[in-house]
């Protein structure tokens, strides 16, 4: 049997596949974070909580309302996105005038509230969500079995990331968004409703997190704290990619997922911290991040 670093090749490929799946979640989450940061200048600490809420929305939808996976993919991000819109309107909007750290602190508080409520209602144990019938089973690639659901997660995530990139970089709406990021006042003077755009952007970023949550529900245990340490990894991913950079967020999300998977094979003890170590190295070498602009 072929071995690399003394590890059988199928084991490496298996971990790389898992890494790519994780990377897909990182990419979706850091993309939302980057979009929100770009326009609002807010680091959304509640991003992990919205991811968790997305997964719970799918779980509750299935258990209590009989909403299947495919509808959940649409409805859960919509519901959680609306919650995001509400939070922007009621709280975040009033903090744009003060220092950006207050936005971080506010969303941290919101994350605590969301996690506390779900913990009280559903307990701390993980809930399992079934893989939808259509995506069960796996392809036999000869050297390994590729579970269809994992492949679907990667495909869906890359597609959504690509569509978001297209929307922001290639459409008229995206152009307005980018213009508002550069100079909100000027764009407002041209008659574009910037506050509405900001509100919807926050909602959309949050909806992306919820979508990641629904995608994750069948492969991980749905629990109130599933997003709380993930959000820190995603922060590191965004810092590595360069804050506010859309491409940076997507690419570094996927690549870091792969690197993490590889670390699990080579030196498992370090797999939890490898992303943070890379972040430290990147900061020393390129403080603005790999895809970021120096101010």
């Amino acid at each position: 049997m072929t071995t690399v670093f003394g590890v059988p090749l199928p084991a490496i490929l298996g971990q790389l596949m898992l890494g790519l799946v994780n990377g897909s979640f990182y990419a979706l989450l850091s993309l939302g974070l980057a979009v929100i940061f770009g326009l609002l200048g807010v680091v959304n600490f509640a991003h992990g909580a919205f991811y968790m809420l997305g997964a719970f929305a799918a779980y509750v939808g299935l258990q209590m309302l009989g909403i299947n996976y495919w509808w959940a993919l649409l409805l859960a991000p919509l519901a959680v996105g609306l919650l995001g819109v509400l939070i922007e309107r009621l709280f975040l909007r009033h903090l744009y005038q003060v220092e950006p750290v207050y936005g971080l602190l506010l969303t941290f508080g919101i994350a605590l509230i969301a996690e506390g409520i779900m913990h009280s209602l559903f307990g701390s144990s993980g809930k399992s969500y079934p893989v939808p019938a259509l995506l069960q089973g796996g392809f036999n690639l000869g050297f390994m079995v590729l579970p269809i659901y994992r492949a679907w997660v990667v495909l869906a995530s890359v597609t959504v990331c690509g569509m978001t990139w297209f929307l922001i970089e290639r459409t008229r709406l995206g152009a307005m968004l980018r213009a508002a990021t550069e100079n909100a006042r000027l764009v407002q003077a041209f008659g574009i409703n910037v506050p509405l755009m900001v509100m919807c952007t926050y909602g959309a970023g949050v909806a992306l997190a919820a979508l990641a949550g629904v995608l994750a529900a069948p492969v991980i245990q749905v629990s109130p704290l599933m997003g709380s340490s993930l959000v820190i990894v995603v922060f590191a991913v965004v810092v590595i990619g360069g804050m506010g950079s859309i491409v940076g967020a997507i690419v570094s999300g996927l690549v870091l997922g792969l690197i993490e998977g590889l670390t699990k094979v080579v030196y498992p003890e370090a797999s939890n911290i490898v992303v943070f170590i890379i972040m430290a190295v990147v900061l020393i070498w390129r403080p603005a991040g790999l895809f970021g602009k120096e101010q």
């Binding site: 207050y102 506010l106 508080g109 509230i113 506390g116 913990h119 820190i232 943070f276 430290a280 020393i284």
Partner: protein, 309 residues
């Protein structure tokens, strides 16, 4: 000024008499440890406007190291504390050196991410006892003379250290070094143009704050007799921010009051409402950020200043 002296006199008298007022000494010591932690944190947030989102790393690492040195290696109490503080100082130096390269929210995210590294090391390393943490940490004695097993004696020891730290922080803030920190807080580019090596000042403040946070962690480990993962966790990092913010960042007494309020709330509420405590803490966070950014002491000082004007 006279009002200030009166406030400090009353607080000192209260602190000295507290164990005789029927209050549980271990709880009082816990309050003091977290108040010390919040004061150390305030040195950064309040006087340099650096929001470290990973201060639990220094607090918890020091708690673990002190516990490990005294339990496994049989070190004395004072040596154990010094060992813990040395480690948190070193951690502060390494993490601070990387983090001070960026400002504002970047600084917050970097300190958070690097603190997570410390968390995972504590989770996986052998000497920390992993998920179980370290238990049965002995209090020992002060240089082999005064035994600290008695709660009241331990209380006065912790109180003495706390007062020392408090006076030390006041001294730092009022020193020329503290003035430079405040200048950086007010306008960093101007401080740079005046020729100050801003990064070096920030790093010094960071290391000082980390070391004092470590001291608080060491004492906490000795007082309660254990060090656990929750000491190094993100939750603890968040709580110390809340304590400082709620009491009033950039004031001397604010963090002390904030720490007392938050720890007392947790102590009493967790029995009554269970997991809802986290919801309440989160709600206080939201209220603080939205309408109460000066905190208790900040608001009081503002009222007084307005009346004087």
């Amino acid at each position: 000024m006279r009002a200030q002296i009166a406030v400090y006199a009353v607080l000192t008298a209260l602190a000295l008499a507290a164990p005789f007022l029927g209050l549980y000494p271990v709880f009082l010591m816990k309050l003091l440890c977290f108040a010390m932690f919040a004061c150390a944190f305030n040195l950064l947030l309040g006087y340099t406007k650096m929001l470290s989102f990973g201060h639990a790393a220094y607090f918890g690492a020091s708690a673990y190291v002190t516990g490990w040195l005294t339990t496994v290696h049989g070190w004395g109490t004072v040596e154990g504390i010094l060992g813990g503080v040395a480690v948190s100082m070193l951690l502060g130096l390494v993490i601070g050196a990387i983090a001070v390269r960026r400002q504002g929210i970047y600084f917050a995210m970097i300190t958070l991410a690097l603190a997570q590294v410390v968390y995972f090391i504590c989770l996986q390393a052998q000497f920390t006892g992993g998920e179980n943490g370290l238990q049965g940490i002995p209090r020992g004695s002060l240089l082999g003379v005064i035994g600290l097993g008695n709660d009241r004696i331990m209380y006065y020891f912790v109180l003495a250290v706390f007062v020392g730290v408090f006076v030390f922080i006041r001294r730092i803030v009022h020193s020329p070094f503290g003035q430079v920190l405040k200048a950086i807080r007010a306008n960093e580019p101007r401080a740079i143009s005046l020729g100050y090596k801003v990064d070096r000042y920030k790093l010094t403040a960071f290391v000082l704050s980390a070391s004092l946070a470590g001291l608080a962690g060491s004492l906490k480990a000795l007082v309660l007799g254990f060090a656990t993962l929750s000491d190094v966790s993100q939750t603890t990092s968040g709580e110390v921010i809340l304590m400082t913010l709620l009491g009033g960042s950039g004031t001397f007494l604010g963090p002390v009051i904030g720490a007392n309020v938050v720890v007392t709330l947790q102590e009493y509420l967790s029995d009554i409402v269970g997991a809802w405590v986290s919801v309440i803490i989160g709600a206080i966070f939201v209220v603080c950020v939205m309408i109460f950014r000066r905190g208790f002491v900040g608001e009081i000082e503002r009222r007084f200043a307005r009346r004087a004007a």
